[in-house]
């Protein structure tokens, strides 16, 4: 092969590689795994005559790191509220053209205009979860333990009975929030003295816990190895579905502590580099239609801030206070705020001490 033919071949390959595989319009959705119902995607693809291409992340920090380094090409992202705030501060988001999102009227005003994004300039709520207690109803009844208070995972008086059968989330922020709530403080309390108290409570309870577990506790609950967890409402809902599908005699139930709990709201936002902001707006408006929004809730048991979705949601779900908190529970739920650098350093230090303690 002579040099010219070689060059032509290389050029041909390069053009082939660079050319988009589809001429069809594409919407790039950067989302959590399994966080949209397949039928919803199909319906949107039909409506917009486009293709939805999903890429996944498993942690807000992953998303932030990637975008901070300059990654481009994503249209819609679904970060949690505090990550939305960080993205706004970093100038990563495109303001939403509200005239293109009339369905925002369907969203419960309680979830709009939050301190994370005043006036919802950049974000609209998508779905939510609470961080609560999950338990094996048979075992907890047998042992006579309360399931409506954080005391059950922090107070040795109760823990003695379930030693080695309890797991807590492997997340400094979530566990500190729970401990602060248990002590009667706000989950967003930043007083170092209160943090020390929380750390002490965690250290005292730690010998009774089986593990810090953020990934396989659903499985452990379902199998019956673990009877009580500090976990996410979606996961606990899934665990119960799995337990019923496997024909277990017990149920995995959700317990909302009376002291209050952490609420995590995930929001739809448009990245500033979005190749198709027009499709992104159409998608956001589409997802705010009750039926589409309800499909996700029916699939994974996530909370839904959409008032129009209620009539499409399975009735057994709407009765769960952890998924659809009534007003009095709602008042005690808190969304976690970002920590400052100094606060984060202190929390990391306490967390390392906790992990290293016997």
């Amino acid at each position: 092969m002579n040099a010219r033919a070689l060059a032509a071949a290389v050029l041909a390959i390069a053009t082939f590689a660079a050319a988009p595989a589809h001429a069809k319009d594409q919407l790039h959705l950067y989302n959590w795994n399994n966080y949209i119902a397949p039928e919803t995607i199909k319906r949107f693809e039909g409506v917009c005559q486009c293709e939805v291409v999903q890429t996944y992340y498993s942690d807000n920090e992953e998303l932030l790191a990637k975008l901070a380094a300059g990654a481009k090409g994503y249209d819609v992202l679904v970060p949690t509220s505090n990550a939305v705030q960080a993205l706004i501060r970093g100038g990563q988001l495109k303001p939403l053209d509200k005239t293109a999102i009339p369905n925002i009227k369907n969203v419960d005003p309680a979830y709009l205009n939050t301190p994370f994004d005043p006036g919802n300039q950049y974000s609209v709520p998508y779905a939510m979860s609470t961080t609560i207690l999950g338990y094996n109803d048979e075992k907890m009844k047998e042992l006579g333990l309360p399931t409506d208070s954080w005391a059950v995972i922090f107070d040795p008086k109760y823990l003695e009975k379930v030693k080695g059968r309890v797991t807590v989330l492997d997340s400094a922020n979530e566990l500190f929030a729970a401990a602060l709530k248990y002590l009667g403080y706000s989950a967003n309390d930043v007083d170092p003295k209160h943090w020390d108290e929380a750390a002490a409570a965690i250290k005292k309870a730690k010998p009774y816990w089986a593990a810090f577990n953020a990934s396989s506790y659903i499985k452990e609950l379902t199998v019956g190895n673990i009877w009580l967890v500090h976990g996410y409402s979606n996961d606990i809902f899934q665990a119960n579905l799995d337990a019923q599908a496997a024909g277990r005699k017990f149920r995995i139930l959700q317990g909302v502590p009376k002291e209050g709990a952490v609420l995590a709201v995930d929001n739809m936002v448009i990245h500033k580099s979005a190749p198709r902001p027009d499709l992104a707006l159409r998608f956001i408006n589409f997802m705010l239609e009750g039926r589409n929004s309800a499909e996700l809730t029916n699939l994974i048991g996530s909370g839904n801030p959409n008032m129009d979705a209620m009539k499409y949601i399975k009735p057994e779900l709407t009765k769960l206070p952890a998924v659809f908190p009534p007003k009095d529970v709602q008042a005690k739920l808190e969304q976690l705020k970002d920590l400052t650098v100094a606060q984060r350093r202190l929390r990391n230090k306490l967390w390392t001490e906790i992990k290293a303690s016997k």
């Binding site: 795994n33 890429t55 996944y56 498993s58 990654a71 499985k219 496997a246």
Partner: protein, 260 residues
């Protein structure tokens, strides 16, 4: 021949069990009739049926294979050249340049490559991931090839040159066949490193580019279904097939006991 001691047999068996039992478990559980896959429930082929209909998972597996094949081929060629250069020319800077990517923490390399690609305005996608994988695989291939060359008798190449072979010809007919096991080992290593890399891939992959490790990692929070076992089983079979075919084509390829 002296009888082997039973202890040696036991040790060998234990070592093989340690290596292969986890793989066997992955395969066995791909037939498990339970979404959670925590305990054995019953036999089913459902997960393979689900996999056949799961475009996301198949596309991810396809991307992973394509990237791994490209990365291992290209990095084997470049890495072999680097290995030979490392062996032949005692340049002071060369070892640092070739071997640094092995020592650099993956996360640092991932972020740096991402920033580099963004600066150059390279669209993130399969191409950027493949380039990144080639970059970190070269060093590993070079090390293996250089180790092989270190044990080679230089006089063989010199003899070929004495008999009138050009340097290229001497390399093609004498050096390359002798270092082939090292080259193949390097290629296999590059393939393995590439196909299961998460960190560097995470940073260099663009919107819509999903590889198998990226997909599986994102599923961990929601629980990994036996579908992942099924796709892993298929990939294992494919890799096994590649090795068997390679061994068939050249029986001495994977053996390093040839005189050198």
């Amino acid at each position: 021949m002296r009888r082997q001691s039973p202890w040696l047999w036991t040790a060998a068996l234990a070592a093989y069990a340690f290596l292969y039992v986890p793989l066997v478990i992955v395969v066995v559980y791909s037939f498990n009739d339970s979404r959670l896959n925590a305990e054995w429930v019953g036999f089913t082929l459902d997960w393979y049926r689900k996999l056949a209909a799961d475009d996301d998972m198949l596309a991810a597996a396809g991307n992973s294979l394509l990237i791994a094949l490209t990365a291992s081929l290209v990095s084997t060629v470049l890495g072999t050249m680097a290995g030979v250069a490392l062996h032949r020319y005692k340049l002071r800077l060369l070892p640092i340049l070739v071997l640094a990517p092995i020592a650099i923490p993956e996360i640092l390399m991932g972020v740096s490559l991402l920033i580099f690609f963004v600066l150059l305005n390279v669209t993130l996608g399969l191409v950027s991931v493949a380039l990144a994988h080639i970059a970190f695989c070269i060093g590993f291939v070079a090390i293996v090839v250089r180790a092989r060359l270190a044990g080679m008798d230089e006089s063989l190449t010199e003899a070929a040159r004495d008999c009138g072979a050009t340097p290229a010809r001497a390399f093609r007919h004498v050096t390359l066949p002798l270092i082939m096991p090292g080259v193949v080992a390097g290629a296999l290593m590059a393939f393995t490193l590439s196909i299961d890399d998460f960190v560097i891939t995470f940073f260099t992959a663009g919107a819509g580019t999903v590889t198998l490790p990226l997909l599986i990692y994102s599923m961990i929070k929601i629980s990994v279904t036996p579908e992942v076992n099924a796709v892993s089983t298929l990939l294992m079979l494919l890799t096994l097939l590649l090795i068997v075919v390679a061994a068939k084509l050249s029986p001495t390829l994977l053996r390093s006991d040839r005189e050198i």
